[in-house]
């Protein structure tokens, strides 16, 4: 099954009648009070957040009034194109801590290429670490995973399985070890063996916990010590069901560990993951991958168009 059908399939199985009956009105070209409310509801129910939704609706009204008759875009199409523009923007100036990979940055231009996975508890980091190794493995890259979650019960046992599934070598220490020291070891050995990719899995933590965030900062600093350009990617793993707290997560994690992009997991449910829109517009962090299941091959590069269509899908 290709991504599109799979994605749609997941979404279609779900949209229950109780919630906004989107459809007919979206296709119609009218823009009246009813259709505005429906469009607004769809955006809100996708977790895009009140402020951005207000902006988008204002823009829509403006543009709709001034649009050229021959173009004849429906209101929904106009909204979609705005959303796609936001999500595809890789030239957002962002903040100091968010440094986005631009289209002409080449991945794997450093060896080893280092990816740091960060995020709140249970968002899907460990699973994604395995999936990423598998994904790049298909492109012939040799991966190593650093088991830097030394805190949660059986975290090491879990990542052991995922490393194996993803075809990666695992670097671990015993439970309770200093995560920065695991990262240090992992970098050293990856470099020594001249492997291509180091994926650093970290413990889940809530961004409001300063001491835990500081521990994460230390992991990033240790990597930087070896290679001033590392970690080359810092990916914030966000659960698609996350509401407006996602923005606070993005601010918190990037300010401590830096940030280059997002991964949305669990998009195989009914959540739309729309909080990435305010994140992208405030911090400039683009979505790099999406997770569509618990299998090792359920990771896919992000496609803004498919993502946005799903928001308006019935």
């Amino acid at each position: 099954m290709n991504l599109l059908t799979r994605f749609k399939d997941g979404l279609q199985r779900t949209r229950t009648q109780t919630f906004s009956k989107i459809g007919a009105i979206f296709k119609s070209g009218k823009l009246d009070e009813d259709s505005i409310e429906e469009l607004e509801d769809a955006l809100l129910e996708a977790d895009i957040g009140v402020s951005i939704v207000d902006d988008l609706i204002e823009k829509l009204k403006d543009e709709f009034a001034n649009r050229k008759k021959d173009k004849n875009l429906s209101p929904a199409e106009i909204l979609k194109s705005h959303l796609i523009t936001i999500l595809n923007n890789r030239h957002h100036t962002g903040t100091e801590s968010c440094q986005v990979l631009t289209p002409n940055t080449t991945r794997f231009s450093h060896k080893p290429w280092v990816i740091l996975l960060v995020g709140v508890n249970g968002s899907g980091k460990t699973t994604t670490a395995g999936k990423l190794a598998y994904y790049y493995g298909l492109q012939g890259k040799k991966s190593v995973i650093a088991a830097c979650d030394t805190f949660r019960a059986a975290a090491v046992e879990q990542i052991e399985v995922w490393a194996q599934r993803g075809g990666a070598r695992l670097v671990k220490q015993k439970s309770g070890a200093d995560p920065a020291s695991v990262a240090y070891d992992a970098y050293k050995s990856t470099q020594a063996r001249s492997e291509d990719l180091l994926i650093v899995d970290t413990a889940g933590r809530l961004q409001s916990k300063r001491n835990l965030m500081e521990e994460l900062g230390k992991v990033a600093r240790v990597l930087r010590k070896h290679d001033p350009t590392a970690p080359h990617e810092v990916l914030l793993v966000i659960d698609a069901t996350t509401g407006q707290n996602g923005l606070s997560q993005a601010r918190g994690f990037t300010s401590v560990a830096g940030g280059t992009g997002l991964i949305i997991t669990k998009l195989d449910g009914t959540a739309r993951g729309g909080v990435v829109v305010p994140i992208q517009s405030e911090l400039g962090l683009p979505v790099e991958f999406i997770g569509l299941g618990e299998g090792v091959d359920d990771l896919h590069p992000f496609d803004a168009k498919v993502f946005v269509n799903a928001i308006f899908e019935e």
Binding site: G10, R13, T14, T16, T18, F19, S20, D41, L44, E45, A46, D47, G49, V50, V120, N121, G122, S123, G124, F151, R152, A153, A154, A155, E157, Q158, E160, V161, W162, L206, Q207, S208, K209, R210, N211, M213, E214, D239, A240, T241, T242, G243, Q244, N245, G246, S248, K266, D268, G269, T270, A271, R272, V275, E294
Partner: protein
């Protein structure tokens, strides 16, 4: 947020007074504001709409206008209505005949396994003999995770080589009977509510385990999807209660309202940390305050009351009244405060603190630092801090492994706190157990 909300209503009511009439249109403008606040707090749209409708009806009454502080009055109506919506009083776990089963279900990563351990500890503390059952045969190392948690808590965990959760549940029951354990907590694999096959499996598991209590575990950071998933779970299997996790962070927790509204089942507990003891009973009024951004002095005071030794508190109050507070007392307070649980979640409960704390977090290790500094002082220095001169400061800094600046900061803050307490003493105000201006906390 509370101030904002109150302001908005004050203005709203002032306008009304000018016009002398409460019109549909006016009320509508106001409830739109409420709706906005709820959406910002992640209440699902349909739940927010339903709630706002209730408010609309209530606020058309006359009481609001007659009240001296109509803005506050209106906020109170909203708060109380929200608390009522969230459910009556806290409901305990339901038990059937022994061994009584609790089945834990929910989306991937919501916190089921961790909450199983928390619940087991809770039940053990209330005199029961729980058995944890590792029925997640799907997620890598899920069984090991539960086994480790059980070991930590010295609570038995039933495991099996069987890959079938339904059979595991059957065998676990036999095991519990044999060992005369009186309750069974089943940890099921996380699943998406759209996965028909896995939902069928859960249905079978439930009909075999026949639990008096099936708890849906929901991530407290969930946004709009909360109603969809909770609805799907409760339509497919019998949900008897809800648990909201990860509320130790800064999420506003609007999902509480969404899931309560869509399932009409009680929220029984909330998870407030990663450790097994981090489980709290659910209090609708506190949750209402959190969603509206009101801070929660009540729960702070209660928490403090249960932890702080009553006698010590009385002594402390006396000292404060006489303005005799010493660094020694302060150190004791710090230790007690630390025993109360994660410091940032405590601070979040103080009105106004949520805003003040934005972007500035409390470091628990600061506490250790402060205690270390006080530990390096002589008894006399602790009692009469003003004798601590430059050379004493250097000695204390060396002894505690902190910098002289750290020592200075602590002494300054302590001084300020004393002054503040003095003022409070004069006004006859009550001190919420030593929290105002706590040295060593907050930004630098």
């Amino acid at each position: 947020m509370l101030e904002q909300l109150t302001d908005r209503f004050e203005k709203f009511v002032r306008n009304l007074r000018g016009q002398g009439k409460l019109t549909e249109k006016n009320v509508q403008d106001t409830v739109r504001q409420v709706r906005r606040i709820m959406l910002e707090a992640d209440v699902s749209l349909p739940a927010a709409k339903a709630f706002v409708k209730t408010i609309q009806e209530k606020s058309l009454g006359q009481d609001v206008l007659k009240s001296i502080t109509p803005g506050q009055q209106m906020v109170k109506i909203i708060h109380d209505e929200l608390a009522a919506f969230l459910g009556g009083q806290a409901e305990p776990i339901r038990f059937g005949k022994s061994p009584s089963t609790i089945l834990m279900v929910g989306l991937n990563g919501a916190g089921k396994t961790t909450t199983c351990a928390k619940l087991a500890l809770h039940l053990k503390r209330s005199g029961r003999q729980p058995l944890l059952v590792a029925a997640d045969t799907k997620r890598p190392a899920a069984i090991e995770q539960l086994v480790l948690l059980g070991k930590q808590l010295d609570i038995p965990v039933f495991t099996s080589d069987d890959k079938n959760p339904v059979r595991i549940a059957k065998d676990a029951r036999k095991h519990a009977q044999k060992e005369s354990l009186d309750c069974i907590i089943i940890d099921s694999a996380g699943r998406m509510h759209v996965d028909g096959e896995l939902m069928d499996e859960l249905k079978r598991l439930q009909s075999i385990a026949n639990p008096p209590e099936t708890l849906l575990v929901v991530d407290g950071m969930t946004g709009q999807d909360a109603v969809r998933s909770a609805k799907a779970f409760s339509e497919r299997i019998d949900i008897t209660g809800l648990i909201l996790t990860k509320l130790d962070g800064d999420a506003r927790g609007g999902a509480a309202l969404s899931i309560r509204w869509i399932t009409d089942k009680p929220i029984k507990f909330v998870g407030v940390g990663e450790k097994p003891a981090d489980l709290d009973a659910f209090h609708p009024d506190r949750m209402a305050g959190r969603i509206l951004g009101m801070g929660d002095i009540v729960s702070l005071v209660e928490k403090a009351q249960s932890t702080v030794d009553a006698e010590q508190a009385a002594k402390l109050a006396q000292k404060v009244a006489k303005q005799e507070l010493t660094l020694e007392d302060f150190r004791e307070q710090l230790i007690q405060l630390k025993n109360m649980g994660p410091i940032d979640s405590l601070l979040q409960m103080i009105p106004g603190m949520r805003g003040a704390l934005k972007g500035m977090q409390v470091d628990e290790s600061e506490f250790t630092g402060v205690t270390a500094i006080i530990d390096s002082m002589t008894v006399k220095e602790r009692q009469i801090p003003r004798i601590i001169d430059g050379s004493r400061r250097r000695r204390i800094a060396r002894g505690s492994g902190r910098s002289v600046q750290d020592v200075n900061r602590l002494l300054n803050q302590f001084d300020q706190m004393r002054k503040m307490l003095k003022r409070m003493g004069k006004r006859g105000g009550k001190m919420p157990l030593g929290l105002p201006g706590m040295p060593g906390l907050g930004g630098r």
